[in-house]
């Protein structure tokens, strides 16, 4: 059911503070993961979030860092403790994480190097929606090679788009009152079966055969009919 699917774009940017920028040559491991949670069905511009999901949490590596999304859907995560030697750098980083330049592959290539090798996992916790966790790999062999992918369907996020995950329905939908559901219930089936026996069964039997059988029975002293049986029971009362 396509309508039930919610298209979610989770745009992921890995941004590295390259040591080349740094004034000192200390090994700077600081980098940030910037992304966006979007509910396209809600707003075409992606601005604003459904009221239902205003409490969205972005979780890095199973709870190592938790952040929240801004009204425009953007979020930033800083995986490690920062040891930033340079002053000028900080403002540049902050100047950037809001602008859309980040989304161009050019800036990606430019900024992703020297990220510590490893895998990071980003999960989105939003009541009512299922988001696939996103895995971010930084290759050890090829410095600067960074990949992001959905873990659930292994779709690569080279274009930093995540879609579509399910809107979760936590309750059973109560069937509206209808005759069919009534008939389907064990009691309904009981009645149905009874009706079948009452009306259809006599028709299934060949009338000729029935007559012969009745005659045979009659020869043996009458049919022990239901009427007899019931009235008999009444009499004994």
């Amino acid at each position: 059911m396509a309508a039930q699917y919610l298209t979610v774009f989770l745009s992921l940017i890995l941004l590295l503070l390259p040591s080349a920028f740094g004034i000192s040559n200390r090994n700077s491991e600081g980098y940030s993961i910037n992304g966006k949670v979007r509910f396209p069905g809600f707003s075409s511009t992606g601005f604003g979030l459904p009221a239902k999901v205003s409490n969205i949490k972005i979780i890095l590596n199973g709870g190592e860092k938790v952040t929240f999304v801004r009204p425009d859907g953007y979020f930033s995560l800083y995986p490690d403790d920062f040891n930033l030697p340079a002053q000028g750098l900080i403002s540049e980083v902050f100047g950037m994480h809001k602008c859309s330049i980040l989304f161009s592959p050019f800036s990606l290539r430019n900024f992703i190097h020297n990220v510590p090798a490893g895998t990071h996992l980003i999960e989105v916790a939003a009541i009512g929606y299922f988001f696939s966790p996103v895995r971010v790999d930084v290759s050890a062999r090829h410095p600067g090679k960074v990949q992001a992918a959905l873990t659930e369907n292994r779709r690569s996020l080279s274009e930093l788009v995540l879609e579509p995950m399910v809107e979760e329905q936590y309750f059973e939908i109560r069937e509206p009152f209808n005759v069919l559901s009534l008939l389907k219930s064990p009691m309904g089936l009981m009645i149905g079966f009874m009706v079948i026996v009452m009306f259809l069964m006599p028709k299934l039997v060949d009338p000729e055969e029935l007559k012969r059988a009745q005659e045979e029975m009659g020869a043996q002293g009458g049919v022990p009919s239901l009427a007899n049986f019931l009235s008999g029971a009444q009499r004994t009362n």
């Binding site: 940030s32 205003s54 409490n55 949490k57 979780i59 590596n61 199973g62 709870g63 190592e64 860092k65 938790v66 929240f68 999304v69 801004r70 009204p71 979020f75 995986p79 920062f82 002053q87 900080i90 403002s91 490893g118 895998t119 990071h120 996992l121 999960e123 916790a125 939003a126 009541i127 299922f130 696939s132 966790p133 895995r135 050890a140 992918a149 873990t151 659930e152 399910v166 979760e168 329905q169 936590y170 309750f171 059973e172 109560r174 009152f177 009534l182 389907k184 219930s185 064990p186 009691m187 309904g188 089936l189 009645i191 009452m198 069964m201 009919s225 239901l226 009427a227 007899n228 009235s231």
Partner: protein
């Protein structure tokens, strides 16, 4: 006919068969579950009572919650729970519409929209070294028409725009090694000062240009006696501190870069001054509050650093910050305890001394302890005078709003920090106590039943009707009664909080039946920082001693280290009275409830101390007698994560101490397993729950084979990971990571099973039940979480399926089973992918163990998912045969699918989820689930549906209709039959 029956049966089976075991309709919410939201112990509070907007107070708490509370009722407007590592340092309100939080040691600054709690912006303040986080939000200071706030964190001072969190300027101040203590900005000035200590003997002050952050001046001055503690700011150019030996107060004046010190001996100010004076963090301009062992004094700074005692405040336990009143005056509140009541005083502080503006006594129940914090706010009364409302935080973490000598509202926020939970059964309903309520009159009765009928036929559409039906269902279910019910749904949950308070919650509606601040767990001379560790069932009368109420044992510790003295207390579970408590005893490392009880049905407990001695409780001759009889069969293990060893122990002989102690025993090491520290590190252990019942030991497979479960109380699941994998998920590569799972017999130390998962890392969560263990870990190769199941079967009894053998008695079923015999076991295991990170894991428990199990997963999103054990069955195959399908084996998929309807918390979140407790109900199909974190959630689960009772939504109407229809049909057929017979006879 045969055909018809077959069709009918088939239909019946098809229709009644369904996969989902747990599911709820939306209108059933609240019928058997309840959810309570808490915030935790309040650290900071900022009132927002301007204009016509809704009056609220914004608080941050020790549970890392930032929340906006309704000042009228104490309800939560909105709330956010930050990560446990993201500790909130400071909060404030900027621009009258944003709540500003500074967290993670001054590293993260966030702004939240005041009305709805939506995060507006977030900035990260980076810097090389940790420092005291400071937040200063000037009321109206603008740079280029932007409101600016100042933050000091990680050695940098930042000027940040309030509207969008953009940096305006920043400056490193830590270069001189200065420890900045205060930021000072006077309204209207064009400089901002940052003052602090350089080392312990030097005071330093920076003066910066407020617009550009340019350093205008830096002055520092040596003080020979040195400083200790924090610097308290008194006015914009005066601060006080205590000298390094703690005998005198130092007044520091800094004006225009000129620093001067003035020293005053404390003994001159306070008469019987002994030691240990602290400057209270309360912020009262022009004055400060000095707390010593026996007094609280308000001291004013007069010209040139001279100090003057203004007032002795008696034994005030808490003092608020100063509040500016419209007339340029300031007031502050202080709270004292007197005769079990709270005395609240609001003092007006003006140039000519102080006067009491308000003095009120408020009666609080005596289970609250002392007042910890006071926050004051003012409002304008009808007669234009100032009224005051005061928010107080008590020792048990509860929160009160006081106004006009009354408690306006209170919140039990201690329940946000639950340490342990124990269920207790309620008393049996006594004769003569009639609970049945007679309906008021016939009309009411009829109306009620009409509504009920509407509900059952699902034609109740108006919200009023639905609400009325809900209410009626609640009433009729009688679920909040204080007596035992036939199904065992009603119980008491005894809950221990971090503040040392014990609560009894009713499972029916979650209300607090009683609460008690434990004397044992309160701060005392002998125990400076007590904290509760765990709860244990001490006495649970079932057969004997039925006149006794059940009781629980509370175990605590005097400090954080394992070898600190232990605390014990026994509390009556029905009344909350402390029956018995023990002064600090030996250290307590581990508590083993034994399976023996004495004649009063008190359970024997073995408490292990840091010296590996075992202490027996209760300390009675009878208990000792029982214990000595059984001591040969008592074994335990200890897993030391640091050393990487697993050891098995048993009781040896009485300890040799200076004082003879019959109840103390030395332990003996039986076996040990050493995991090489360079290759393995213990990540998790799991054992079976002690009160788990296993119904059947045998399992019949689809091909009529019998498999015997290896059910042993002594099995331990242990997982080790590569030692490199101590950091987060990304810290190791797949090639160098592995996870090894062990099944170990804790009596003999024998490793029954060992399996390695290459490329997998922790954190590992595991549950052990019956003969299977389920564990959750991260697979680095696949970059997904994985769950594995191991089932263990007894091979030694595998040939016991010959009926002849059973009849002739040559089987080995009756031969004694000893844990020392070498078991022949076989294992089956399987792994599946799973989407979510987990916080905790549990398994459902039922009374007799007949019902199938569900694994309860506390996900990272603070929800609880119930996963059928059928999904975690190692016999699952991709294409199950017809026979296997009939047995209920689900086709194998590589990942465990998440059915949203099986979230037991449905649309709710249990924020800050920490633990899941399952309790069997008396009704076999049902298990009670209590989930705790910052929130509490309770529900009832039926893993295989309620097969032993009718569900609450059972349609009685339909049953009646069916019976009616059948009766009518019988009569119709009778009439027909009679008519036919008559015709037959006429013919």
């Amino acid at each position: 006919m045969n055909m018809a029956i077959r069709v009918y049966l088939l239909l019946f089976i098809v229709l009644s068969y369904s996969y989902t075991a747990f599911s709820l309709y939306e209108d059933q919410v609240g019928l058997m579950d309840w959810h309570q939201q808490y915030i935790g112990k309040v650290k900071h509070a900022v009132f927002h009572t301007h204009k016509a907007a809704r009056k609220r107070v914004v608080v941050s708490t020790e549970e890392n919650v930032i929340s906006s509370l309704d000042l009228r009722h104490g309800d939560i407007f909105w709330r956010h729970v930050l990560a446990p590592t993201d500790v909130i340092d400071q909060i404030d309100i900027a621009l009258g519409k944003y709540v500003i939080t500074l967290s993670s040691g001054g590293s993260i600054l966030r702004a939240w929209n005041l009305p709805d709690g939506q995060m507006v912006w977030e900035s990260t303040l980076l810097g090389p070294n940790a420092s005291k986080p400071l937040l200063l939000v000037p009321a109206n200071f603008k740079v280029d028409r932007e409101n600016v706030m100042f933050i000091y964190g990680n050695g940098f001072i930042h000027a940040i725009s309030s509207i969008d969190g953009e940096f305006i300027w920043k400056k490193e101040l830590a270069s001189e090694g200065i420890n900045i203590q205060q930021l000072i900005y006077t309204d209207g000035s064009d400089t901002i000062s940052a003052v602090g200590f350089v080392g312990t003997h030097r005071f330093g002050a920076y003066i910066l240009d407020v617009k550009s952050g340019e350093l205008l001046k830096y002055k520092s001055m040596e003080f020979t006696d040195g400083f200790s503690g924090d610097l308290s700011l008194v006015t914009d150019d005066t601060a006080v501190a205590i000298d390094s030996i703690g005998t005198s107060l130092v007044t520091i004046q800094f004006h225009d870069g000129l620093i001067s010190f003035h020293q005053t001996l404390l003994s001159h100010l306070i008469q019987d001054f002994r030691r240990a004076a602290v400057i209270s963090p309360s912020n009262i301009p022009g004055a400060f509050i000095l707390e010593t062992d026996n007094s609280v004094t308000l001291i004013k700074v007069i010209s040139r650093g001279e100090l003057k005692v203004v007032e002795e405040l008696g034994h005030a336990t808490a003092v608020s910050d100063a509040l500016f009143l419209p007339g340029g005056q300031q007031a502050f509140a202080l709270v004292q305890h007197r005769d079990g009541k709270i005395l609240l005083t609001v003092k007006l502080d003006s140039d000519d001394g102080t006067s009491n503006l308000l003095e009120e006594t408020i009666h609080l129940d005596n289970q609250r302890g002392k007042v910890q914090k006071v926050f004051i706010n003012t409002y304008v009364r009808v007669d234009r005078s100032n009224g005051f409302r005061v928010l107080i935080v008590m020792e048990d973490d509860s929160l009160f709003l006081l106004q006009q000598g009354e408690i306006v509202w209170s919140r039990e926020d201690g329940l946000a920090s639950i340490v342990d939970v124990k269920p207790v059964v309620l008393p049996v309903e006594k004769d003569g106590v009639s609970v049945a309520k007679v309906e008021n009159n016939l009309f009411e009765w009829l109306k009620g039943h009409l509504l009920k009928l509407k509900g059952t036929l699902m034609i109740a559409t108006t919200p009023d009707d639905v609400a009325a039906i809900q209410k009626m269902r609640l009433l009729s279910s009688g679920k909040s009664k204080m007596t035992r019910d036939r199904n065992g749904f009603r119980k008491l949950l005894i809950v221990l909080t971090r503040a040392g308070k014990l609560f009894a919650l009713h499972t029916g509606d979650g209300r607090i039946v009683w609460s008690r601040l434990l004397r044992t767990l309160r701060k005392s001379e002998t125990c400076q920082s007590p904290r509760g560790i765990s709860l244990h069932q001490w006495q649970d009368p079932h057969h004997h001693a039925l006149d006794q109420n059940p009781s629980v044992l509370i175990v605590g510790r005097c400090g954080d280290s394992l070898d600190s003295a232990g605390l014990l207390s026994i509390v009556d579970a029905y009344t909350g009275e402390e029956r018995n408590h023990m002064e600090p005893v030996h250290s307590i490392v581990h508590i083993i409830p034994l399976s023996f009880t004495d004649s009063l049905e008190q359970r024997l407990h073995l408490l292990l101390d840091a010296n590996r001695r075992a202490h027996l409780y209760p300390r009675t001759a009878e208990a000792l007698d029982i214990f000595q009889r059984e001591s040969g069969n008592i074994y335990w293990y200890s897993a030391e994560t640091e050393e990487g060893t697993l050891r098995g122990h048993s009781v040896h002989k009485n300890c040799v101490l200076e004082e003879a102690d019959n109840f103390c025993f030395d332990s003996r090491d039986l076996w040990s397993i050493v995991f090489p520290s360079e290759s393995e590190k213990i990540a998790a252990t799991a054992t079976r729950s002690l009160n788990e019942v296993v119904h059947t030991q045998a399992k019949v497979t689809e091909d009529q084979e019998v498999m015997y479960k290896y059910v042993s109380k002594n099995l331990l699941f242990l997982a080790t990971v590569a030692p490199k994998d101590v950091g987060p998920i990304g810290s190791v590569t797949p090639d160098e990571s592995y996870l090894i799972a062990y099944l170990i017999d804790t009596v003999t130390g024998r490793i029954l099973h060992r399996v390695t998962h290459h490329g997998s890392v922790g954190p590992v969560h595991a549950v052990f039940s019956e003969n299977w263990v389920v564990y959750h870990y991260f697979n680095l190769r696949a970059h997904r979480y994985e769950m594995s199941v191991i089932e263990i079967y007894d091979q030694a009894r595998a040939e016991n399926k010959d009926v002849l053998k059973l009849v002739l008695g040559t089987h080995n079923l009756t031969s004694p089973i000893t844990a020392f015999s070498r078991p022949e076991v076989s294992t089956k295991s399987q792994s599946y992918f799973f989407a979510h990170s987990l916080k905790t894991m549990a398994v459902t428990l039922t009374a007799k163990g007949i019902t199938s199990k569900q694994v309860l997963l506390g996900t990272i999103g603070d929800q609880v998912l119930a996963l059928d054990k059928r999904f975690l069955d190692p016999r699952r195959t991709v294409n199950p045969t017809q026979a296997e399908k009939e047995e209920g084996i689900i086709p194998l998929t590589d990942s465990l699918s998440i059915i949203p309807q099986s979230y037991v918390t449905h649309t709710l979140k249990v924020e800050g989820l920490r633990g899941i407790v399952t309790v069997p109900a008396k009704l076999e199909s049902t298990t009670l689930v209590f989930v705790y974190g910052t929130d509490l959630f309770f529900t009832r689960l039926a893993p295989s549906r309620t097969y032993d009772s009718l569900t609450e939504d059972f349609s009685y109407a339909l049953l009646l209709i069916t019976i009616g229809a059948l009766v009518i049909a019988i009569f119709i057929t009778w009439v027909w039959s009679e008519k036919k017979e008559l015709q037959e006879k006429w013919r």
